[in-house]
Structure formats: structure tokens, C-alpha cells
Symmetry: C2
Amino acid sequence: MSLPVDEAEHAARVLRLKAGAPVGVFDGRGGEYTGVIVSTDGHVSVRVDGRGAAAAEHPVSVTLVHAVLKGDKMDDVVRDAVMMGVTAIRPIVTSRSETSLGALARGGRVHRWRRVAVASAKQCGRAIVPDVQEASALQPAAEWLDTAGIAAPRLLLVEPSVEAGHTVDAANVPRPTGQAVALVVGPEGGWTPEEVAGLSEACTRVCLGPRTLRADRAALVAVAALFAVWGSESRLKAQGSRPKTE
Amino acid sequence: MSLPVDEAEHAARVLRLKAGAPVGVFDGRGGEYTGVIVSTDGHVSVRVDGRGAAAAEHPVSVTLVHAVLKGDKMDDVVRDAVMMGVTAIRPIVTSRSETSLGALARGGRVHRWRRVAVASAKQCGRAIVPDVQEASALQPAAEWLDTAGIAAPRLLLVEPSVEAGHTVDAANVPRPTGQAVALVVGPEGGWTPEEVAGLSEACTRVCLGPRTLRADRAALVAVAALFAVWGSESRLKAQGSRPKTE
């Protein structure tokens, strides 16, 4: 098999691999293999000789719906989310996002985040590259989430300053029985009151303790907390009678 | 009261606050106050007029013992650890740290991290500034941890590649009954086998799932996971009969 152009360049020019070098390759859809480079002339080809051992995927599939942040911070968000094991990333532009869909398109940002996702999957040992979807403008209503294909259950991450009424601590969010969830995270300036009101109709509001988290760390902290509370598949099996939704 | 020089500069030159401006001030040891600037001539003085509302501290006190990372990455580690609520940070130089105690001293790094800790406490709403201690060279033995004043229980964060034998998933680490714990995190290149062997005598080995985490995110993910699993004081009180050590 031949490597894609980006990866061939990386193998030949950055890593300076020659024919005969042992490599691990993955197809981004769960297959990971071991092999040997057979040629680096023009393109780089690999002879596959076995199955590799990719990191197991978490049984709960998380779609991260994340407001685009300033500067390059979204690169970190995508990289860290892939490292934590999310399944898909959906960038959104909210009222307080300091960018527009046009600016994202002109900057080729989604394409860039897809490359970041591939690099992060390689680094952390995942054989699946999460899907970075096209950016869209948030319309904070239940109907929008439905038509945008962001299925329930949905968790809306809110800051400590949002009134506590119906907000759940991440430590108390039950594991989704359908093994899939959307996590919706805002920009540096937070959600507008209208966004919180509109989204609260379709989401469970979740907070992460009393400290104000940086926008470029909130998703990472949320996924780490939720996965820890939900446990892994093997842990739940080992505990036998423990209900899956605790 | 007068503000310290750093903070006075920040208030007068960066924020451009004038006499009469309302401010929040904190002493770094838990006291947070509201007040009004009364003078910005030469030094900046504040008249305190009430108690402020700082973010509650987590009841479990975490001392983060962290190998110094390359470049400026330790700045992020300190900033994020303060944001997550750790109580103290102890930088160490390990076999695979690409620095030395001499280089850290010449670069004034500990002094820098202390300033990062103050800035992060302000940003996240904590009224306590964690203590960034002097850096020391790791000697991977139980005696060193004892003489260095790093009390048990101690959690040694290990990579997925370390053999599973006596390694506990973070989701299964019991809340420390003494409400204090040390978390020991290695550098980019990980621990040497000798370090793992020596430290394992004095620490519980903890892993964070099957993916390889970046060294500059491991502590953040670990604290997020542990605090979520341990729950907050108020949550435990609300649950009444739930044992504190689950």
C-alpha cells in the first residue's frame, strides 16, 4: 500500500525512514497494522505484515460541539479532544465567538483541524481519527440541534456564574444508556443568557466545580471528568452488579 | 492597603484603573475582599469595604510533584494545576528531564512559575495561591519521598505501556481518608524502569486509560478525573451514607 502524500512526506523527509524500516500504519477507521517500508521513490509504500495494537476506544461516543476560540487555540482543543477519545468534533460560531463562518472558510481552518486530528491520533495511539465536521452557526434552540443532527442526550457546559437551578455537577452526570452523548462547550466570553435559555431546553446543564476554567481547557477537563465517572467498559463488567447509569 | 509592585503595575498600566474603581483583592491565603482604589500615585492603594466570594477550595489537598518539561511547557502545567485546584506544586528533575537544577536556577524558573501561579489564581477565582516549591532532583526511593516531605498516600502516574500488574485506573482510586495526597507525574520521555521500580515501593501506580497522554496535559487530566471520582464535600454530604473513601 502507498501512504497518503502528507504521511509519505513526513516519513521520508521528517523521520527520514528508508526501505526496510519497520512502521505502524493505521487507516483512521479502526484498523492498525505493522509493516515494513519497501520503497521511498516518489511515493512511499509499505508492505503490511501484521495487525497492530491500537488503544481501545472508549465505549461512550462523545460528539464535542465546541465554539471556535481565538487565534490558534482551537488547534489545542482539537488535539486534546482527540487525545481524550472523543468521536467527532463539530465547530460552531456563537454570539461571542470572535470569528465568522466566512473567516473560517477563508482560513481553511476546518482542513487544518482535520490535520491536527490525524497528528493527535498518531501521537496518542488511537487507530480512529475523529471526524472534524464543517463549522456552523449556533442557533440556540432545540430544533436547531435536532436538524443539525446533534442527537440527545446533550450536555451543555456552563460556567460557575450561571445560576445553579438546574445545573448538575459533572460528577453526577449519569452514563448515557445509549452509549453516546453530545457535549456543547462555549467560547472565551461564555454563552449569552439567550443561548443558555435556548439550549437549556434541549440540554442538561453541567458545571465543573467552582473555579472558572480557561475556554481552551474546559472540554478536556469535562471529558476527563465524565469518562472517569462513567468508567470504562471493562471496569463496569468487572464490577458486575453496578448499574451502567451510575 | 497597598498592592504589591507587580499587581500595582498591572492595575495602573495594563488595566488603567483610576481612583474610585471597584476592585476585588485577595491575599493568596484564602481571604478575598471587595474594595475601591483610593490612589494610584506612585503606589496603588485600595480601601477594603467587604468580603468577596472566592471559589471554594476542594476538600482534598493535592500536592503535584511534577517533572520539569521542555521549553515553556511547565508554565502551562503550573497554570492548569492551579486552575484545577491543587494545593502545592513541587518541580522535580528526573533521569529523562532535559534540564538540570543549575539551569532552572539560572533561568529563575521557580520565580517565574510562582508568578504564573498568582496569575492563574486570579483568573480562575481562587483566593489561595498554591505554593510552588523549590525544584529538587528525584531520587526514586521511598526514603527520598519521606525526607523530601512528600507524605503518603502518593499516586505515581504511569503510561499505558507500563505493565499492568499493580496499576490502578484513576476511576478506581479511593478518596484519601486523610484528605491529602501527592500526585507524581513524569517528563516527556516518561519514567525510567529504575524510577518506576523505586517509586512503586512508595506509591500507588495509576493510569489514565489506554491512550498516551501528552506530558503537558497528564496532570490536568489526572486531577480532573480524580476530583470527579472523589466528588466534592457538598456532594458527599448530600449523599449521606456514601462512604468518603469510595
